[in-house]
């Protein structure tokens, strides 16, 4: 694989994680972004590293892989150099754990059932007695019905986390080129061999589309439309407070909102403190294209739900609010793998609001697939040729070809040549 030129399109956290894994594996990696690194979705989210909001299935598997990899990755970044140590520290890794609180009987039943299925998949999910909950979160509402503690949930400062992964990728030899906007693809013999950018042509053997909510539009520029759309989320930030919220605390509605496909507003409370003392309040989900206006009624609904969990925050001033666009796929699963329609094009996107947490697992999986290593988890559910991603099911034959290619890659760990790739 040495000498294979990989071009990662997008320098957000997914691009950074993919670039890091591939550069560490010895590939020649270039990262392109039309703006600055981590300036888009990555720096407009909360930094969730959650297992608690996912039911058993492929996304939970990816979340659990990522949860295992996060501390390992940050430790490795820190060990690399003094700059790496500073970068890893700026990621503000906090394995604080999450607590999901139900405030109604219906919510309690749903939460209890959900936690039980998660336990069968290996997630630590401990039901808390009321007294234990109040000990863990003294300011939480007394009106709770059931609370479940997820000790594996964690948090990072997302821009810092992305910078840490990117710092490591650069240390491993990757090149970052910002202000490079991809305009179109260059294909030769049905294979993507380069991209025209606003700053010239960049050639490569393999291209990874990690452009987040813009990856659908980017894929279209390369001639391979992709069903990834922006879904907006907003976050409120309070003035710094004395310690008030100790875990990532959210209401039991959150899981429903994550899994919903409604275009209309979905809100549920996610409340947590940052290292600086501010409380972050999420979350909302709206499919409004790239409309960047904050809506007062959305902020109002979020504030109302947060106060249901923490009534004592009513007098706390909100200092700012920000919104971001997350890459939404109709079937709520990330898109990770080779595009069967255009050889040389890969995608790593569609993580919606979970991309920060899932980034390191995604990077690892991309590396496994590209190198043909035994994958650490089944990647089939994330494949590109799904109805939700391509609109219609593609020819089964092409799908078989992709699987064959993968098996082929797993058998061969030698040089990736033009010939092999074309013959796959």
């Amino acid at each position: 694989m040495n000498g294979t030129r990989v071009v990662v399109l997008g320098a957000g956290i997914i691009g950074a994680a993919c670039a890091r894994e591939l550069a560490l594996a010895g590939l020649e990696v270039t990262i392109l972004d039309r703006g600055g690194a981590a300036a888009g979705t990555t720096s407009h989210g909360e930094g969730n590293v959650l297992v608690s909001d996912k039911g058993p299935g492929p996304e939970l598997d990816l979340a659990r892989l990522s949860r295992r990899l996060w501390p390992e990755a940050l430790a490795a970044v820190a060990e690399r150099s003094p700059a790496g140590r500073r970068a890893a520290d700026a990621a503000e890794w906090e394995p604080k754990g999450g607590i999901v609180v139900a405030t109604t009987q219906a919510g309690a039943d749903g939460l209890t059932r959900f936690a039980a299925t998660q336990r069968t998949a290996g997630v630590q999910a401990e039901e808390l007695a009321s007294a234990t909950l109040l000990e863990a979160e003294p300011f939480v509402t007394r009106e709770h019905t059931v609370a479940v503690h997820y000790p594996e949930d964690a948090q990072v400062q997302p821009a810092g986390a992305a910078a840490a992964l990117l710092t490591d990728a650069l240390a491993a030899g990757a090149t970052l080129r910002t202000q490079h906007e991809v305009l179109s693809g260059i294909t030769r013999g049905g294979r993507l061999t380069g991209v025209r950018t606003s700053a010239g042509v960049v050639e490569g053997d393999l291209f990874v589309n990690a452009a987040g909510p813009w990856s659908g539009a980017l894929a279209a520029r390369l001639g391979t439309p992709l069903g990834i759309e922006p879904r907006r989320g907003d976050v409120l930030v309070t003035a710094p407070l004395p310690p008030t919220v100790f875990h990532k605390v959210y209401d039991a509605d959150y899981v429903g909102a994550v899994g919903s496909s409604e275009e209309d507003l979905q809100t549920s409370a996610v409340v947590e403190s940052t290292r600086a003392g501010s409380v972050l309040i999420g979350s909302s989900r709206r499919r409004v294209g790239f409309d960047d206006r904050l809506r007062p009624e959305v902020l109002s609904a979020m504030a109302g739900k947060a106060l249901r969990l923490f009534p004592s925050l009513a007098g706390v001033p909100v200092m700012r609010a920000y919104g971001g666009f997350r890459p939404y796929v109709a079937d709520h699963l990330p898109v990770i793998g080779a595009d069967p329609r255009l050889s040389g094009l890969w995608h790593a996107s569609g993580h919606e609001g979970a991309g920060i947490g899932l980034s390191v697992g995604t990077g690892r999986l991309v590396r496994n697939l590209v190198l043909g290593e035994p994958a650490e988890l089944a990647a089939d559910a994330f494949r590109v040729d799904r109805p939700a991603v391509l609109g219609t099911q593609i020819e089964p034959q092409q799908h078989r070809q992709q699987q064959q290619h993968q098996r082929h890659r797993q058998q061969q760990s030698g040089q990736l040549s033009q010939h092999q790739e074309e013959g796959a």
Binding site: Q157, L166, P213, P240, S300, A303, R320
Partner: protein, 530 residues
């Protein structure tokens, strides 16, 4: 204006800010027949310029403290007591809600104004919304202060804060005070301090006599056309000389020192570019220091409304002018709201007046406000009074241009900074960390720098350090620019890294936010007939 005209047909003009510009806008809009809602976060109108003492301990002779008091007082009564005016004191605009593009085409109005009303530290504030036919933004400016070692110490004040304490609460910030920075504002601040009983040891203007003289005397006829302003400055100069306060040019406070609070300042002579002349440092024992390096326009509401910003266009005579006095390069630190001849911004139904369109002082703000109010109310563009106002406004703009030339910020000021000098006082981000972040390839994007260094994330939301960080960012990473696609349009969904972007313009409590807002009446006159 026919008195028979029905209230329903009257235009409703919302004026945000009741300083010289806003009050004047309200007056002109009322004169043009509109209903006016005048909003200000203070208890009393007047803004920073005519800062009033709370009723409880109002000065018996405010005219002694304040320039142009009588005219202001008359105007204040004319506006607040007008039957078509609704005065909303202690009310903040926390958000401007831009309508959907389709909705905007239908309704054609300016953004909806979201307000919180009630004492800022009280608990009973209420939320309401205001939909007007036109919106006049007259929200003014605040001090711009460059960082220097020790500026975070207690006892270091922005000149504006010191003046507010002196004018608004009759409190002297110290017994031995140095006033330093740049611009004519240093003079009234020093005068207020003297009035409040402080001993002002010196007023230090950072620009050299050559720079200042070149800026002020290039076209003396323009200065003569601002007689009020010239007389005002002359008065302050007399006050300073009466108290034997030395006014030194080409000198700055480059460091403040002290245990727990400021005890002494280091001053130094500066070259024209504000680099320190080595060996000219002096230490002066003080118990307070007031600094101001000009003003930053409060642009969060114009930005929230979607108004285009830019550098005010120089007139042709300006461009062919003195080669030695080049205009400062455009940067995020000298951006203002762009307006046309009628004070219209780029957003339909939104007008701007006063310091947000260029720092020019109260007389220019009053003229701009009047033009804005008149136009916003749909007043006839041919009105004779308007011609006088426009002339006065243009004189004010020429004055602003002159002010900017006479008191530029020299570009070598970061030479004062040390790695450990605090740049963001709220979050205690130092210069060294900021430089490291700006030069880190993996995290040099302005938003990422902000999140990773926390500069600008504190309670003031970058109002103080924002211009400094933006300027340093520009120096390290080239000019900040909007990411554009191949057709030249801004990329959808990628917000511009703008130092003035604060969608929540004022803090709002979670409880207030959770409550549903009350819409204010469309036509809120207190009496049914004019």
């Amino acid at each position: 204006m026919s008195p028979k005209r029905s209230e329903q047909a009257r235009r409703h003009v919302a004026v945000i800010g009741a300083g010289p510009a806003g009050l004047s806008a309200a007056y002109a809009a009322l004169a043009a027949g509109a209903c006016v809602t005048l909003v200000d976060s203070a208890e009393q109108p007047g803004g920073q310029y005519h800062r009033m003492l709370p009723e409880a301990y109002a000065a018996r002779r405010p005219e002694r403290l304040q320039h142009g008091w009588r005219a202001f007082d008359r105007r204040r009564h004319q506006v607040l007591e007008h039957p078509r005016c609704t005065w909303l004191p202690e009310t903040s605009v926390w958000m401007l809600e831009r309508p959907d593009p389709e909705q905007a085409r239908e309704r054609g109005g300016p953004p909806r104004v979201h307000l919180v009303s009630g004492p800022a530290d009280g608990t009973g504030r209420t939320r309401c919304t205001l939909d007007a036919d036109a919106l006049v933004l007259a929200v003014g400016a605040h001090d711009r202060v460059l960082p220097f070692s020790g500026w975070e110490l207690p006892g270091v004040f922005t000149a504006g804060a010191a003046q507010a304490l002196a004018k608004g609460e009759r409190v002297a910030v110290g017994d031995r005070v140095v006033v330093a920075g740049s611009g004519p504002f240093l003079l009234p601040v020093a005068a207020s301090l003297l009035e409040a009983g402080s001993r002002v040891l010196a007023v230090l203007e950072a620009n050299t006599p050559v720079t200042v003289a070149r800026g002020w005397t290039r076209r003396p006829w323009e200065l003569a056309a601002q007689p009020g302003k010239t007389a005002e400055l002359a008065e302050y100069t007399v006050a300073l000389s009466r108290h034997r306060v030395p006014y030194r040019m080409g000198r700055a406070v480059v460091e403040a020192r002290g245990e727990g609070r400021v005890e002494e300042v280091v001053t130094a002579r500066l070259r024209a570019d504000w680099s320190v002349v080595p060996g000219t440092e002096h230490t002066v024992a003080v118990d307070a220091v007031c600094v101001s390096h000009g003003f930053s326009p409060q642009l969060e509401l114009p930005v929230a409304a979607g108004c285009a910003l830019g550098r005010r266009q120089a007139s042709p005579s300006e461009i062919s002018g003195h080669p030695g006095a080049s205009s400062p390069a455009p940067s995020p630190t000298n951006e203002f709201v762009l307006v046309d001849d009628g004070q219209r911004t780029s957003v339909a139904g939104v007008f701007a007046a006063g310091e947000i369109t260029g720092i020019a002082g109260a007389p220019a703000a009053r003229a701009e406000g009047a033009v804005a109010g008149w136009t916003a109310a749909g007043g006839a563009p041919s009105a004779r009074a308007l011609r006088t106002l426009l002339r006065s406004r243009d004189q004010g703009r020429a004055f602003a241009e002159r002010l900017a030339r006479a008191h530029p910020v020299g570009e070598a000021w970061p030479g004062w900074l040390r790695p450990e000098t605090v740049v963001c006082r709220c979050e205690e981000t130092d210069y060294g960390s900021l430089c490291a972040a700006l030069t880190d390839r993996a995290g040099a994007d302005p938003r990422v720098v902000k999140l990773n260094t926390r500069a600008g994330l504190g309670p003031c939301q970058g109002r103080i350090c924002g211009p400094t960080v933006a300027e340093l960012t520009g120096r390290f990473g080239g000019p900040q620019r909007q990411v554009r696609d191949s057709t030249g349009r801004p990329v959808e969904g990628l917000a511009q890294a703008a130092p003035h972007r604060r969608p929540i313009a004022q803090p709002v409590r979670l409880g207030e936010l959770a409550a549903s807002p009350m819409p204010l009446e469309d036509h809120p006159p207190r009496q049914s007939h004019p």
